[in-house]
Assembly symmetry: C2
Homo-oligomer: 118 residues x 2
DNA sequence: CGGCTATACAACCAAGCAGTTGTGCAAACA
DNA sequence: TGTTTGCACAACTGCTTGGTTGTATAGCCG
């Protein structure tokens, strides 16, 4: 197991939990304190605090320090990275499927093909 | 901890590992057998097999049964789901940031800053 | 000052994961 | 037929995680 995990893994891992995704969704409509976030989740404040740590480590949120509360705000940049990876591979896979279809079509029209690779 | 995890969590969790992402990348250039996939990864065939199980469970790949080998092929649809979630929220966050910027600009134009800096 | 509020830290636990070794089994090959 | 190849299953290990309770800290209120 990676002692140091790459950013992408951290982001995906952070997104791989329904609670955390819900937190992000809630946060999308504005800042919130830990206790505000904890309320709808049927879990303790400490548990939410841990989730926030995960999100923070993935830099999906940042936290500000105002008096005795530490509200959370979203950080969209990390999401770009994840989106980028997916988009890239989605394209590659689509290409691959296209080429596969082409290839099959080519094979079909050629009747027989000798593969002399260079 | 979810006894039954939703599809989205499975997909993100599957993507949250560099080895599995590398497997997907390799798979993007064509089918491969377990041993072929295992080679570059400095880990045993069994470990790769486990990773493939994770990918299969997330339905990011499917496996075909030909004779004694069980090659893997990519399944792009699941990726769409993950891409969709991210895209949706990216947009929401962007909107939010825009509004925040507007808000701050509005505040600034009001010239109501009482900062006691040192 | 005392007490309330908001949060974090620590210890603990059950479960899961990523990896290992060892083994079994089905298909191809000699 | 026996051997090799390709893969999976099982058991085990160490680390991580998601949750708990209990406690500590920092700021506000009276």
């Amino acid at each position: 197991m990676p002692v140091v995990e790459d950013d992408l893994s951290l982001v995906f891992a952070a997104l791989a939990d329904p609670t955390r995704r819900a937190i992000l969704e809630r946060l999308a409509s504005g800042e919130a304190t830990v206790n505000q976030l904890a309320e709808p989740f049927a879990m303790t404040q400490q548990a939410v605090s841990k989730h926030l740590k995960v999100l923070e480590r993935a830099r999906l949120i940042t936290r500000t320090r105002t008096a005795q509360s530490r509200p959370c705000v979203l950080e969209a940049e990390r999401l770009e990275e994840a989106a980028g990876w997916i988009a890239r591979h989605r394209q590659m896979w689509a290409d691959r499927h296209d080429r596969l279809a082409e290839h099959l079509a080519a094979l079909r029209s050629h009747d027989h093909d000798e593969e002399t690779d260079g």
